[in-house]
């Protein structure tokens, strides 16, 4: 019987040849990821209480990103507990302050097509860019998984989203997701979105990760993209071992999708989501001129190397307006390293950005860069719910790194195409 890719993965993980949407099944887990917020601070007492041990350290990846670097004693205590636990329990796949969990996982080649992976964070669907099932769970679920190695799931329906065409100038995967949040809504709970089509085939792996990351904003259990040669090359280049037959993890040709949506992207303009929902989106032109106190390029969604490249393209030879400020928190230590090596960081610094440490930081209102009452932010992150990035009476607009950088230059929401149309104020790279 024909199945979608996610059905096939769940069937394999639950020891069956076929599973039907709606069925409740028990799955063996290939990989559990937790961060400082969903990790040992939540498990330690549970393990003690149950007198249990962690099930298989080779299948657990632990990452600190939410409370790093610690801004207060509570955060420092959480990090200490996490490190102590990793040491005491032999959790060797531990990445301390090396970046945001969803970005760090593929940097070490952990994710492979066909895996059934679970993450202690709502943006775990990001992992689906590597052809695996990876959904988000709360910490009690994660604690139970760390002890037993299994979990229950209700086999989800799959929605197929075909993206065709290419990007117009200054348009990126982020803009596609703001469009989809508006068109498909945010209430696709207990469903999976599978992305495909010519545009997805052409996209880089990092841009694909934006599509799967923001499957969370569609309310989907996860997002997934069938692996291709580009996926395998990426995994191998990052130290993961994967066989060529991993490409066989695909949906059947006549797979039973719950719905199929086709979007032609060539005419899509840069998008902006206004407060307080990613679905409250439309073309940037609707918001041009809006006052912005802070611009933020950060998060698992919007601060990977290619995101910094987008920002640098706008900022090269230009300056951040004194009307606003631009904070940049690269998504990982590796991102920063590459951005130094290829000159991107130099461009950002010369434009007057404020560099922040790698981590979740302002994205979840947890660390450096939070907003005061009445402040308005333009952000490359994924969520703009009320109070998300600081005070409950602050506002967040969402856009691509192009649009955030353009806004920083203009001091107000701006269309990146218009900023690029104006020649830089001074010759490129001539700032001393």
């Amino acid at each position: 019987m024909a199945q979608t890719l996610v059905q096939k993965i769940i069937a394999r993980a639950s020891g069956q040849s076929h599973v039907a949407p709606g069925a409740m099944v028990s799955c063996k887990i290939d990989l559990v990821m937790a961060h400082d917020g969903s990790g040992p601070q939540r498990w330690a007492s549970q393990l003690k209480e149950l007198n249990a041990e962690v099930w298989d350290t080779s299948k657990i990846v632990l990452i600190t990103d939410h409370y790093v670097p610690p801004a207060d004693q509570e955060s420092a205590a959480i990090l200490k507990l996490t490190r102590d636990f990793a040491k005491a329990h032999g959790i060797y796949q531990f990445h301390d302050m090396q970046g945001i969990c969803h970005v760090v996982l593929p940097e070490y080649g952990y994710l492979k097509p066909g895996m059934f992976a679970c993450g202690g964070d709502s943006h775990s669907p990001t992992g689906g860019a590597f052809g695996c099932y990876m959904a988000g769970y709360g910490w009690t679920d994660i604690a139970a998984m760390v002890i037993t190695g299994d979990t229950w799931t209700i086999v989800p329906e799959t929605i197929r989203v075909n993206l065709s065409g290419g990007f117009a100038d200054c348009v990126a995967a982020k803009d596609v997701m703001l469009l989809l949040c508006r068109e498909l809504g945010m209430d696709n709970s207990f469903k999976v979105v599978e992305y495909g089509g010519g545009l997805v085939a052409d996209l880089s792996v990092q841009e694909r990760m934006v599509l799967t990351n923001m499957a969370a904003e569609l309310g989907c259990e996860t997002g997934i993209i069938e692996a291709d040669q580009k996926t395998l090359d990426h995994i191998r280049a990052h130290g993961g071992h994967v066989d060529d037959d991993a490409l066989e993890w695909r949906s059947d040709r006549d797979a039973p999708y719950e719905a199929v949506h086709d979007f032609h992207i060539s005419t899509l303009e840069p998008q902006v989501a206004a407060p307080h929902s990613p679905s409250n989106s439309g073309p940037v032109s609707a918001h041009v001129g809006q006052r912005i106190d802070q611009c933020y390029i950060g998060a698992c969604t919007g601060a990977k190397l290619e995101d910094l490249h987008m920002a640098a393209r706008i900022l090269k030879g230009r300056q951040v307006s004194p009307e606003t400020r631009l904070l940049v928190a690269p998504a990982s230590a590796l991102t920063t390293k590459h951005a130094v090596a290829d000159g991107t960081l130099q461009i950002l610094l010369e434009a007057g950005v404020v560099m922040l440490p790698t981590g979740c930081g302002a994205c979840a209102g947890l660390g450096a860069g939070v907003l005061a009452a009445g402040e308005v932010c333009m952000s490359s992150t994924n969520r703009n719910f009320k109070g998300r990035m600081g005070h409950k009476d602050s506002d967040v607009y969402l856009g691509s790194p192009y649009t955030v950088a353009a806004t920083a230059v203009a001091g107000r929401i701006a269309d990146p195409r218009e900023i690029l149309a104006d020649a830089p104020a001074h010759p490129q790279g001539a700032v001393s």
Partner: protein, 160 residues
């Protein structure tokens, strides 16, 4: 279980239920901030046994368990919503908080007296006298709730 209804609309997200600036606090200290950006009277007004009613996509957003945890800590005994975000739904069950899909949430008014039986799938609005039949919680999940949450359930599983 009977209690007064607290009724809210669609897309009540986890940043509203458990604001980021409170996440480092113990749940007892976070709970008074639950929904403060939406309804400052909620957290202070809830009594033990009250019932939370919402529209579509309750709990969308983060995986933070503080969201159902805050409701539970304030005294909410059951949550009814037209639909739930998946992680919120799992988290509620895992904490032992029954969560029922309730298509008629819009027919409930703030403060209505309600009577809910999650096993039978019975929802009664005592104030209006109207009774509804909803899908009961699947037995596998009800077993988790009846044991007092996933950890207590697991303790039983490991002991047997």
């Amino acid at each position: 279980m009977t209690g007064r209804a607290w009724v809210y609309g669609d897309e009540i997200n986890t940043d509203l239920l458990a604001p980021g600036y409170c996440l480092r606090l113990p749940i007892e200290e976070l709970a008074p901030h639950c929904l403060e950006a939406l309804d400052p009277d909620f957290a202070g007004g809830v009594r033990q046994g009250d019932i939370f009613v919402a529209g579509d996509n309750l709990g969308l957003g983060s995986a933070r368990e503080h969201a159902p945890g805050a409701l539970l800590t304030l005294g909410i005994k059951v949550v009814l919503a037209k639909s739930f975000a998946r992680i919120f739904y799992r988290n509620a069950i895992n904490l032992g908080l029954p969560a029922l899909f309730f298509a008629h949430a819009h027919e409930i008014t703030m403060g209505d007296e309600m009577d809910v039986d999650p096993v039978a799938g019975m929802v009664r609005n005592v104030t209006t006298g109207k009774q509804y039949q909803v899908n009961s919680i699947p037995p596998h999940l009800m077993a988790i709730i009846e044991d007092g949450g996933l950890m207590a359930h697991l303790k039983k599983r490991l002991a047997s």
